[in-house]
């Protein structure tokens, strides 16, 4: 990543005033990055940004409330930060935001599917539009566009929307504005098939709550309805009904808040297409209220406000 050094310098300058800076560093193999907590100057050297910087680090912010935190954000991550600011879940003066122009991150599931079971990964090189992966003594060449995350194709916010330090040149958003082809295809399915689809998908859920834990907007943490008896929305049973209901709770609690970072789906070890539900919710909210979450820290979320006369709601016609 060409702005990496610039970013390191920028963090180095700011670090004395901060308790921690959250960024990424190399993970357990060349295909994975891992969140990196920079507390001392020497930690800075290990920082790495690039197509493997998949994690939305904003998820850590509410938990670090009260501390002086620096955070490195992709454009999409910055929307989560904005949303957290808007909901007063973090304090602006406590957060120092480092932005950079993001050219897209990979989708590990796509790589896994393309490569099959490879064993240990030895190296990975990304040159222009090609990814070369060495694993099990073989070299695999993949087109970058085949393994990029879906959300990146229609990315409208590649540069951080909010930042204190921005490194590099801002790039322009993707020409493709609609990223919901999977949603559109799904909505063309007959209703009974959709119902069957979700039953099948939810049956695979192992109730690990990785989706929730990865979600930057799931701020209830220890007080999630999923594990509460008062209120007692869900039993602890391994039933499709309860698992599906949990996803509905998650989707509804994100209505008007979800920035579609896709962490829920990325984190899901069972590859359940959870983002579909959120995309649908966002689509309706956008149509009804011309509202998009995580763009304006001063905005009021649509479900926490109202108009006496709603232009787009024709409920009296029923």
């Amino acid at each position: 990543m060409k702005y990496q050094q610039e970013l390191k310098d920028s963090i180095r300058k700011a670090l004395p005033g901060l308790d921690v800076v959250i960024a990424w560093s190399a993970g357990y193999d060349p295909l994975h990055a891992t969140p990196h907590f920079i507390r001392r100057e020497e930690d800075i050297d290990r920082l790495e940004i690039g197509p493997f910087s998949v994690h939305n680090l904003a998820t850590y912010l509410p938990g670090l409330r009260g501390k002086k935190v620096g955070i490195v954000v992709k454009g999409c991550d910055s929307r989560s930060v904005i949303e957290l600011l808007q909901e007063n879940l973090i304090n602006r003066e406590d957060v120092t935001i480092f932005g950079f122009p993001c050219t897209g991150v990979v989708d590990q599931t796509k790589i896994r599917k393309a490569l099959g079971h490879t064993g240990k990964v030895d190296f990975c090189q990304i040159a222009s539009q090609t990814v070369v992966i060495g694993a099990g003594g073989e070299e695999h060449k993949l087109r970058l566009s085949k393994v990029l995350a879906d959300k990146c194709f229609s990315c409208q916010y590649p540069n951080a929307l909010i930042s204190d330090h921005f490194v590099g040149e801002k790039i322009s958003p993707s020409a493709q504005t609609e990223g919901g082809d999977d949603l559109e295809a799904f909505e063309n399915m007959p209703l009974p098939e959709r119902f069957a689809f979700w039953q099948k998908e939810m049956d695979r859920c192992i109730r690990c709550y990785a989706c929730r834990n990865a979600c930057p907007m799931c701020v209830c943490r220890d007080h999630c309805l999923a594990e509460s008896r008062d209120p007692h929305w869900l039993s602890q049973e391994d039933s499709v009904r309860d698992k599906w209901m949990f996803q509905l709770i998650h989707a509804y609690h994100l209505a008007g808040r979800c920035t579609e970072c896709g962490e829920c789906q990325r984190a899901c070890p069972m590859d359940i297409p959870l983002l579909l539900l959120k995309k649908k919710m966002n689509k309706e909210i956008k149509e009804l209220f011309q509202y998009e979450a995580g763009v304006d820290p001063e905005a009021t979320p649509p479900l926490l406000s109202f108009k006496m006369e709603e232009e787009n709601i024709k409920e009296r016609e029923w």
């Binding site: 599906w244 649509p302 006496m308 709603e310």
Partner: protein, 154 residues
């Protein structure tokens, strides 16, 4: 009590206490005949109705859910139905993604004086649900066992 087979479907209503529950009472006092499928849950205000209650009701196998509150501007709590309108509209548009027909859930406004309107709303909604037939059911263990477990912890 089980649903009367071949006769009724399971329809649940969430009604605000001040307008629509009163409207349903007015319909009763006026002896306005209605289909018997609907079971009413009384809540203070349509603003109290968390859309998740409706999802939960559908997940639990209800064939239809009807919500009714005070007409906009007439809310006993001034603003409850304004919030409700947004939330319920979002839900109404969201449900089809799950595979539920949009008509399984409706929301409307009935005031305490509108006994006749209530009769029409109930009749119309019940007909609509009967036209759709029983809702798809989620495969899985029977409720009774689960519910007993849930009740046992209380």
């Amino acid at each position: 009590m089980p649903v009367l087979k071949g006769k009724e479907l399971r329809i649940v209503g969430f009604l605000c206490n001040w307008c629509s529950y009163g409207g349903a009472d007015t319909a009763g006092v006026g002896r306005f005949n209605q289909p018997t499928d609907l079971r009413i849950i009384r809540v203070p205000c349509s603003g109290r109705i968390d859309p998740l209650f409706i999802m939960k009701t559908l997940m639990n196998g209800a064939d239809g859910v009807l919500v009714s509150g005070c007409h906009p501007r007439d809310c006993h709590y001034a603003e409850g139905n304004f919030y409700a309108r947004r939330r319920l509209e979002v839900l109404h548009r969201f449900l089809p993604i799950l595979g539920f027909e949009p008509g399984r859930f409706e929301y409307t406004w009935v005031s305490a004086s509108e006994g006749q309107r209530w009769q029409q709303v109930v009749t119309r909604f019940t007909e609509q649900i009967h036209k759709l037939g029983p809702a798809p059911k989620i495969a899985g263990p029977e409720a009774s066992a689960t519910l007993r477990q849930m009740e046992a912890v209380l």
